[in-house]
Every structure is written in C-alpha cells, then in structure tokens.
C-alpha cells in the first residue's frame, strides 16, 4: 500500500506539472524570460551553476533592492524631516493665527460699532440738511429778498412772493415740529420766520406804497395785486396803501378833469369842455359825462389792485376808497355848476340841468355810493331844483306883473295863454323825467298858483256875468292844458269845482235875464204867494197878461240865440255853454210848469185854460231841447 500511495502522490504531482499550462502562467513566463537573459548557453556547467547563479542573481537583486530602498529611505527621512518642520511651523502659525484672531475680534467689534455710528451720523446729517432746506432760507433767497446790501431800492418780483410763501409755509410747518416735540427749534424757527416775514412785508409795503399809483401800468399790475394780497394780512398796512393810492389817484383824477376842462385831448381833440361853457346845458352835460366815464375806470383800477385779495368784507373799504378818489373832482364840478346856476338862465334849460344831474347822480351812484361826490350831487341837485323853481317863479311873476284887463271877447289874456304854453312845455318835459310826479306837481303849483291869483284879480274887476265867463274861459284853458298830464287830479278837481261854481253863477244870471225878458218876475212872485184868492182875479195874472207872456215866449223860442246873454256866446267851451243853457231853461221850465198847473187848476177859475197856455210843459221842454 504505501508504495501505491507514494506512487499516487507522485502521479498526482506529475499530473499537476503536466497539467499546468506554463504558457498561461504569467509569472512563470516572466521568470523564464528573466532566465533567458542570463542563461545564454545550455551547458552542463551552466546547468550545474544554474542554481547558484540564480541564487546569486537573487542576492544581487536583493542587494540592489536594498540599496535602492536605502536611498528611498533616506529620501523619506529627508521628506519626513521637512514635513515635521513644516508641521511645526504650521502649528506655530496656527497658534499665531489663533492669537491674531482673538485680537481681531475686538477690533471688528469696534469697527462695526463705528460703522453703525457713522451711518447714524450720516443719516442725521441728511436729516439736518433736509430740515435746514425746509426750515431755513437759502442764501439766494435771502439775496432775492433783501437784495444787495449796498442797493437801496430792491425791485420786488414775483419770486419775492414765492419766498414769502415759503416763509409762511415754514412758519406753519413749525407746528409739526412742535408736535414732534422739538419746541425749542420750532420756536426758534418760528421767531426767525416771523422776523423775515415782517421784514419782507415791510419791504413789500414800502415798494407798494411807492408804486401803487402805477396800477394802470401792465408791468406792475400782477406784482401789485400780489403785494396787496400779502398786505391784506396786515390790515393797517393794507389800509395805508389804499389811502396812499387814493391820494395819488385823487390828484390824478383832478388833474385829468382840469385838463379835459381847459386843454381838451391831445392836439385839441376833443375840444376842451370849457370851450362850450356859453351853453349851460352842453357844458354841464359834458362835465357829467366825463365824470361818469372816469369813475368806472377808477373802479376798474381799484379792482385790479385788490383782485387777488380776499374780497369778503372788502366792499365797504373799496367803496369808501373810490368815494375818496372821486372827492377831488367835486370842488371843480361844484364851482362850475353853481356858477351856471347863478347866471340867469331859461327855466327850461335849468330843468334840463336838473334832470341831467339826477340821471348822472343815479348812474354814478351805481358805481360809487356815498362820499363827497354824492353829497355834491345832492347839493347841486337841491340847488338846481331850487334855482329852477325860483327862475320859473320869476318868469311867471314877470309875465303877470301887470294886471291886464281881459279882452272884450273875454278870452284869456295873452300873458295867461303864454304862461299856459310854458307850463305845457314844462309838463311834457317833466312827464318824461325821473321824479316826474313831484316835479310835475311842483311845476304846476309854481305856475298855477300865481296864475289863479292873477285871473281872480282880473276877474274881480268885471261885472258878475263877464267875471264868470272870463273865469270859465281861463279855467277851461287851464283844464285843457293840465288834463293832458298825469298827477294833476287835485288841480283838475279844483278847476272842475271852480268851473261848476261859475256855471252856477252864469246859470242864475241867465235864468234871471230870461225871467226879466219874459216879464215873468211878477208872475213868479204871485205864484209863490198862496194867500190870495183865485189867480185869475189877481192883477198881473189876467188871461190877457198871460197871453202876452206866451207870445213873448214864442217870440223868444223862434230866435233861440237872442234869449241867451251875449256873454254866454263868448264861452270857449261848448260844454259849459250847453250846461248854462240847459240849466237856465230848466229854471224857466220849472216856473212855466208851475204856471201851467196853476192855470189848469179849476180853483183859479181860468176859462179855457188850454187856450191861454197852449203848450204843455212837455212840449216846451222838447222845444228847448
């Protein structure tokens, strides 16, 4: 058995060798290649030596390796030393860094603190700048406001007002500051601003004071208006300026008025108003027209001056100012108009002047009320009205100074007709004027009263019938003249009543003349007396006598004109004439009726009464008609 196992192991080994594929074993191939480098000859020697040679070579290689390794080891050691050094340095450095770091941290803290502070400070600076910009006047502003120190008259421009606005705004902004808790600053600024404001307003005031007269210069209008707006806050200064303005404009207006009166326009066109002073009406009209035209211009100017101001409560001030401006022209106007009124003038002309004054007083009153101008107008108006009435009175008195005897035809005398013509003219003019009612009543009174007296005076020298006719004729003329106009009711009523009275007189005269002509007097007396017996037996009532009366009556009736008094035909009004006629016939008719009834009364014992008085009263009345 052992043998077989040995054999077996061997076979196994062999197999192994045999089976091993050398070509596949890289190491073996490598080893063999190495072998081939030095086993060049296949000799015994060589074979014997192979082993040693291999070993020798192995040794040699190891020795080589060792040497090489030693070199490496040295190098490594060097490297190691270096690294160790380095490590040491790094450690050192780290240490150093750590130290540095510790030190820097402090610094950094400081730096950031500083930085923070810096930004804070910067912010504050901005803030301050902003505040200063907002609450301080800039140098250029100041320069604009107060100008160059060496120049005295600094012109005011619209810029000035912008700055003033700014001052104002700043001032009001200070309340915000105040609320923000910065009282001291706010108060300081406020004080400063107030000072500025005062100073600027002072400047504006002085400038306005000296320039306000130039309101009609377009260049200044805006600035002046603006200045006035500012000054309105200082009402005293404002009023001073207005006063100054008034003084300037007043003298300007007077100057212009006097120029218009004496020099006229440039190169004499329009001609000076006084050129036509010989015609009072034109003269006064021209003056009034001029004033009426000039005053609205002044009002316009005044409005321009205060156009930017707060208008509330300004009206009275402006009106007073305008009245003040107009004061200047009062004196020259007054003197001239009074001069005209003092010269004897026709009443018609004076009346025209009165109306003119009234009209322009009203016109001007619409523009400016109160003041000396209105007073002047009122005074002139009063004076002219008085002068007018006085002149009219004088004229009337002159015309009536002589009591003329009425003409034979008992028509109104020339003087009376003349005066009535004047009255008619005057009334037609007055009926178109403004205060016509008072005027007309006054004019009518002025003319009619003396006229009445004169007529009565004239009439009192005439016999009753003539007197009545003359009065009626005069009153008829007056009536016709007055009845054309309004407001004459009272006078007409009086005329009417007076006419009625005179008609009564005439009627009674006419009736008695009729009674006398017909010898009716005794018959009437007997008829009234009822004490006696039958009438036919009474003397004067015999049928023959009655027939006599009747024939006279027939006679009269055939010539109706002859039965009238001659004066009745002189009556100017046919209405009056008819009234007298009718009423006197009525008297006659009444008596006839009484007689007729008496005759037909059987108690009176008339035979054939129808024969004696053939006409019934009705028939007679028809004839009269």
């Amino acid at each position: 058995m052992s043998d077989s196992t040995k054999q077996h192991v061997l076979s196994k080994r062999l197999n192994k060798i045999l089976e091993s594929r050398l070509e596949n074993d890289q190491d073996t191939i490598e080893a063999l290649r190495e072998l081939s480098s030095f086993y060049t000859e296949n000799t015994l020697q060589a074979r014997r030596n192979l082993r040693s040679q291999i070993e020798k070579r192995n040794l040699e290689i190891n020795r080589d390796f060792l040497t090489s390794f030693k070199a490496i080891k040295d190098s490594f050691e060097v490297v190691y030393n270096d690294i160790a050094d380095m490590n040491k340095s790094v450690l050192e450095m780290t240490q150093q860094l750590r130290n540095a770091k510790a030190q820097t941290k402090n610094l950094l803290q400081k730096t950031s603190a500083l930085q923070e502070e810096k930004s804070k400070v910067e912010f504050q600076q901005d803030l301050t700048k902003a505040v200063l910009l907002k609450f301080e006047l800039q140098p250029e502003d100041l320069k604009l406001l107060y100008g160059e120190p060496h120049r005295k008259d600094n012109p005011i421009t619209l810029e000035t007002f912008k700055i003033l606005d700014k001052i104002h705004e700043t001032h009001s902004n200070c309340t915000v500051l105040m609320q923000a808790g910065m009282q001291t600053l706010a108060l300081d600024i406020m004080e400063q601003m107030t000072l500025h404001q005062e100073r600027v307003l002072e400047i504006v005031y002085r400038w306005t004071l000296s320039h306000c007269r130039n309101i009609d210069n377009v260049e200044f209008q805006e600035i002046l208006a603006e200045a006035m707006r500012r000054l309105q806050e200082r009402i005293v200064l404002f009023k001073y300026v207005i006063d100054e303005y008034c003084v300037c404009r007043r003298s300007y207006l007077v100057g212009e008025f006097l120029n218009a009166l004496t020099k006229g326009g440039s190169s004499g066109n329009p001609a000076p108003i006084e050129m036509r002073a010989h015609d009072p009406q034109i003269y006064v009209t021209d003056m009034l027209v001029w004033i009426n035209r000039a005053i609205p211009v002044e009002k316009q100017n005044l409005k321009l001056l205060v156009k930017s101001c707060n208008q509330s409560g300004l009206e009275e001030l402006l009106n007073n100012a305008l009245a003040n401006i107009c004061e200047g022209v009062c004196q020259p106007l007054r003197i001239r108009v009074e001069k005209i009124l003092n010269v004897p003038t026709q009443p018609a002309t004076l009346y025209a002047i009165v109306n003119m004054l009234r009209f322009y007083k009203k016109c001007i009153n619409k523009v400016v009320s109160g003041g000396l101008l209105e007073e002047t107008f009122v005074a002139l108006l009063q004076k002219s009205e008085r002068t007018f009435i006085e002149t009219l009175q004088k004229q009337v008195n002159t015309l009536l100074v002589r009591v003329e005897t009425p003409p034979r035809d008992l028509s109104p005398t020339h003087a009376i007709l003349n005066l009535l013509a004047i009255l008619r003219d005057m009334l037609s003019t007055a009926s178109m004027s403004e205060g016509r009612e008072t005027d007309m009543v006054k004019i009518a009174g002025t003319v009619m009263e003396p006229l009445f007296k004169a007529v009565n005076e004239q009439a009192s020298r005439l016999p009753p019938t003539d007197m009545a006719v003359y009065l009626l004729n005069c009153m008829y003329s007056m009536y016709t003249c007055l009845s054309l106009h309004e407001f004459m009711e009272t006078r007409l009523e009086r005329l009417q009543a007076q006419s009625d009275a005179q008609i009564d007189t005439l009627t009674s005269e006419q009736a008695s003349s009729l009674v006398a002509n017909l010898s009716l007097g005794p018959i009437y007396t007997i008829l009234q007396d009822h004490s006696h017996g039958p009438l036919s037996g009474v003397p004067g009532m015999e049928p023959s006598n009655l027939r006599n009366f009747l024939s006279k009556l027939d006679n009269l009736l055939s010539q109706p004109d002859s039965i009238l008094l001659p004066q009745i035909n002189l009556l100017a009004s046919s209405k009056h004439k008819k009234a007298v006629q009718k009423r006197s016939f009525a008297v006659l008719l009444a008596i006839y009726k009484q007689l007729y009834e008496a005759v037909h009364n059987p108690e009176n014992l008339y035979e054939n009464p129808a024969e004696i008085l053939s006409k019934t009263p009705d028939e007679l009345s028809r004839i009269f008609e």
Partner: protein, 215 residues
C-alpha cells in the same frame, strides 16, 4: 291810478267866509295839513282844500272853498256860496269889527245858499285870551238867535278846528238821512257819487258816448 282817493261816498262842499285877517286860510290849512301857517298871505279870489273824513262810518270828501275876505273879491267869491252844503263863518275874537260884520255875512249866506246849508260860526284866535274883544256868551247868544252852530277855535293851536269841520259834516249828513236835503238838486252842495275829476272825466264821457252807440 289807485282807487284810494275816490274811495268815498259823498262830497260835501264847504265855504269859509268872514272878514279879512280873521284866519280863514289858517283854519283850512290847520284842518287839511294839521299845521299852523304863520305868515299866511292874503287870499286872492278863492283857495281850495280837500280832506276825506268819516261820519257814521261813511267816508266823506270835503271840498272846502276858502274865500278872500277882501271886499274887492266879493264878486268872485259869491259864485262859491251857491253850491255850499256847509258855510263856516269866521270872526276874530280879538277884533270886534269882524264880529260886527257877521250879520252882513249871514245875510249874504242866507241869500246865496239854499235853506238847508249848515252855517257854523267860528270865533277864531281863542288862544289870544288876553286880547279878547268879544265874549263867548255874546257870540253864543248871537248864534242861538240865528240858529247857528258855534264854537271858539284856534287855528294856531288847532283847538276845536277839527270839531267845527266835523260837526258841520255830521249835521249835513243828518239832513241827508232825514231827507231834508235833496241830493239831486244842483245847489245842495252834496254829491252822492264822486265825480272823478280830470282826465278820467273825459274818459267817462267817451265811455258814455260808446254806450249810446251800442244802443
């Protein structure tokens, strides 16, 4: 035109007579204007005044003729007696002569007016008591004898002026009520309907003509 002034039912005509300077015009002025006219000029011919008064609720317009006292105007003034419903006869209590002339004034009045005319005697200037020349009793007796109403008045102070004019009107109004006064008679001095004076009159006439045409 407002209807105001014509708002009355009657017109009474008065006449004021008496010697020169007894104060006739002043009485009228005091009555119409309620003022005393200090230096009143002599009346020439006649003056005229109106006032509307009220009697028993009726509006009455008084048309008052103030006549000249001067003799030379007697012819002119006589015309106005005829239509008078009331005559105020005035004398001056400080001048006897003016009182003495009353009977002639009264005759004139009686002759020229109608029987129903109310005559009122007024002794004017009763404010001048110190200068009195005619006693109240004497004048009162005269008035009684002649059936006149009588009062002493003063145009200066206005005493009794209103009363004299109003009493006269009352008396006239009473006559109308009693039917003693014929309103239709032309000389009664009373007009029932106010005849509107002036242009309205003309218009009225024209209207009348038109009415006739329409017929």
């Amino acid at each position: 035109m407002s209807a105001g002034p014509y708002n009355y039912s009657y017109i009474f005509k008065y006449i004021i007579i008496g010697d020169m300077g007894v104060g006739k015009s002043c009485l009228l002025h005091q009555f119409t204007e309620k003022k005393f006219m200090a230096d009143c000029p002599h009346t020439i011919g006649v003056e005229f005044g109106t006032r509307i008064i009220e009697v028993s609720g009726q509006k009455i317009k008084l048309q008052i003729w103030d006549t000249a006292g001067q003799e030379r105007f007697r012819a002119v003034t006589r015309s106005y007696y005829r239509g008078a419903a009331g005559a105020l006869m005035v004398y001056d209590i400080t001048r006897r002569s003016t009182y003495n002339h009353l009977s002639s004034w009264l005759t004139d009045t009686r002759n020229l007016t109608n029987p129903s005319t109310v005559i009122f005697l007024i002794g004017n200037k009763c404010d001048l008591e110190g200068q009195r020349d005619v006693t109240y009793e004497e004048a009162s007796k005269f008035a009684e004898e002649n059936g006149l109403l009588f009062v002493e008045a003063s145009a200066k102070t206005g005493d009794n002026v209103e009363e004299a004019f109003l009493e006269t009107a009352k008396k006239i109004y009473q006559s109308i009520q009693d039917g003693r006064l014929d309103l239709n008679a032309a000389e009664s001095g009373v007009q029932h309907k106010p005849s509107q004076p002036g242009r309205t009159n003309l218009n009225g006439d024209q209207a009348g003509v038109k009415d006739n045409c329409a017929c």
